[in-house]
Every structure is written in structure tokens, then in C-alpha cells.
């Protein structure tokens, strides 16, 4: 039963107040995209055992979507940050690097 801090309203709450939303930073492919790109967008998931970037919505709170960097194996939450970005911010990356020196970085 995770706890997360919503970066939009500042509330720290338990998992049941949020709704998970799968992998973050997916790039949308629309009409005109290749079959591979489109399939990748909808289905190919990194699903790593380790550092994962993912979407959450503060469903029972402020209603905002935000992103989290979390270890899927230890459940450690490295950081939560605003959803309006197409890749993890540098400070989040740095934070993870500091805790997981072996991590190969955001790909």
C-alpha cells in the first residue's frame, strides 16, 4: 500500500486516493505514423524490474495527473513531478542516479 506525494496540491496520501495510469512519457502516434510506431505507442512497455516512470492521478484529491519515478522491485519512490513534460526532469534523474548508481539512465 504505497504512499505518494502529489506535486500538484502537496498532499501526501495513500495509494487508494490515487489512480495509477501506466507508463509515463509515452509519445502519441496518430494518423500517418508507421505500424511499428503506433504499436509501440499503444503496447510495447518497458515494464522494468527497477526504475520506472509512471503516471498517477490524484483521483480522490485535486484530480490532477502527475508522474512518479518508482522502483518496481523495492517500491521506493524517488520523486513525483508534474505531468507536463515529455521526459523526466534532470533533478529527478540525478536523484535516482544518486540512489541507484548502476541504473543505466532514462532510455
Amino acid at each position: 500500500m504505497l504512499t505518494l506525494t502529489c506535486p500538484c496540491c502537496g498532499v501526501t496520501a495513500e495509494e487508494t486516493e490515487f489512480a495509477p495510469g501506466g507508463e509515463a512519457h509515452l509519445k502519441r502516434f496518430g494518423p500517418g505514423s508507421s505500424d511499428d510506431d503506433f504499436e509501440g505507442y499503444l503496447f510495447a512497455r518497458k515494464n522494468p524490474k527497477g526504475v520506472h516512470f509512471e503516471r498517477w492521478r490524484h483521483a480522490y484529491g485535486c484530480g490532477k495527473w502527475f508522474l512518479a519515478a518508482r522502483d518496481t522491485n523495492t517500491l521506493e519512490v524517488f520523486a513525483t513531478y508534474k505531468a507536463q513534460t515529455s521526459e523526466p526532469p534532470a533533478d529527478v534523474i540525478a536523484k535516482i542516479k544518486a540512489k541507484r548508481p548502476d541504473w543505466e539512465g532514462y532510455k
Binding site: 500538484c8 496540491c9 502537496g10 498532499v11 487508494t16 486516493e17 480522490y60 485535486c62 484530480g63
Partner: protein, 183 residues
């Protein structure tokens, strides 16, 4: 409108705390850039501040609550809400804003008594003990969304959706039942 009724028409239960539906209340949702000057001006004209994050400010019987980074909730008298919605809409017509009357989409409750906190402890995962006066917490009560705040020293106000008012009242009644106080 004499025929307007609230969801539970004031239903009340006495237990180790008193739980009651408050009857009709006016509520207006304002979605807007909360930092905008236009918003501050429009609210100022109504004698209201723009609340800080998670705050609820009460001025002369009306309250204004911060609901999210781009949403406020104004609580007022029920019959005042339509006109107030109009006024604010007009005042904000120059902004990208949405002002809607949601009075009837909600139900409001009070939990009163020295042990009011304990009722909330049974229903919400939020830490009610550390909720300061003047802060509104959006959370859930059992299986439905709710927001609550301390409206005076021994009263907690709680807002839910109207359709689940009966469910929320059921929860409050059971939770406040005599003999089941926690401390």
C-alpha cells in the same frame, strides 16, 4: 423556489458525535488560472480572497476553498448561487475561466462533538488529527469522494456528491454509533 430539496432534507443522527445533513447549500466551481488578476478582482468584488493552496477561507457566511491548482469552490447560500454564478461568469468573461453552479450536485454534512474526529478516522485515510483549521482535505469516505474541513472548534464539515448522500449518511451514522468510540 419553495420546492427545492436537499438530498436528505436535514437528516440527523445522535451518537457519540452528532451527524447531520445540512440541507441546501450553494456551491460554485470556478476553474481559472488562480494567479490571474482578473480572478482576484472578481472575487474581491464579492468580498472574497483567492485562497492559498489547500486553504478554505470564510468571510461573512461564505467560504472559498482551494480545490486544485486551477479550481476553487465557493460555498454560499443556496438561493444566492445562481446569481452569484452569473456575476462571477460575467466578471471573468475576459479570462479563460469556467464558472458553474454545482450546488445541487453536492450534499453537505456536519459532524459535531468533541469526538467528531473519530468519525472521520473510521472513514478516511487522511490524517484528520493533523488537519489544521482553515485547511480543506479532499479525500474519500469509505468508497466515495469527499472533502472536509474544520468549520469550528468541534465541528467538521464534509461534502460529498449528492447521489451518494444516503450512503455517506449511512457511514456517518454507523461510525458515530454510541459504544464504538475509539478513545
Amino acid at each position: 423556489m419553495s420546492d427545492a430539496v436537499s438530498a436528505l432534507q436535514g437528516e440527523t443522527h445522535e451518537g457519540f458525535a452528532t451527524v447531520a445533513e445540512t440541507g441546501l447549500v450553494g456551491m460554485i466551481t470556478i476553474r481559472c488560472d488562480l494567479g490571474s488578476k482578473g480572478l482576484a478582482k472578481a472575487l474581491k468584488a464579492e468580498g472574497l480572497p483567492v485562497p492559498d493552496a489547500r486553504r478554505i477561507e470564510t468571510v461573512e457566511g461564505r467560504s472559498i476553498a482551494w480545490m486544485s491548482p486551477d479550481e476553487l469552490l465557493l460555498i454560499c447560500a443556496h438561493d444566492e448561487a445562481p446569481a452569484l454564478t452569473e456575476r462571477l461568469s460575467t466578471a471573468l468573461s475576459g479570462e479563460h475561466a469556467l464558472v458553474v453552479n454545482v450546488s445541487d450536485a453536492r450534499a453537505m454534512f456536519t459532524i459535531r462533538g468533541e469526538k467528531a474526529d473519530q468519525v472521520v478516522m473510521k472513514l478516511s485515510p487522511a490524517d484528520i488529527a493533523t488537519l489544521p483549521t482553515g485547511e480543506i482535505r479532499r479525500s474519500r469516505t469509505a468508497q466515495v469522494a469527499a472533502a472536509f474541513w474544520r468549520s469550528d472548534s468541534d465541528t467538521i464539515s464534509l461534502v460529498s456528491f449528492r447521489s451518494v448522500a444516503g450512503y455517506v449518511m449511512g457511514l456517518l451514522e454507523v461510525s458515530a454509533r454510541e459504544g464504538s468510540e475509539l478513545f
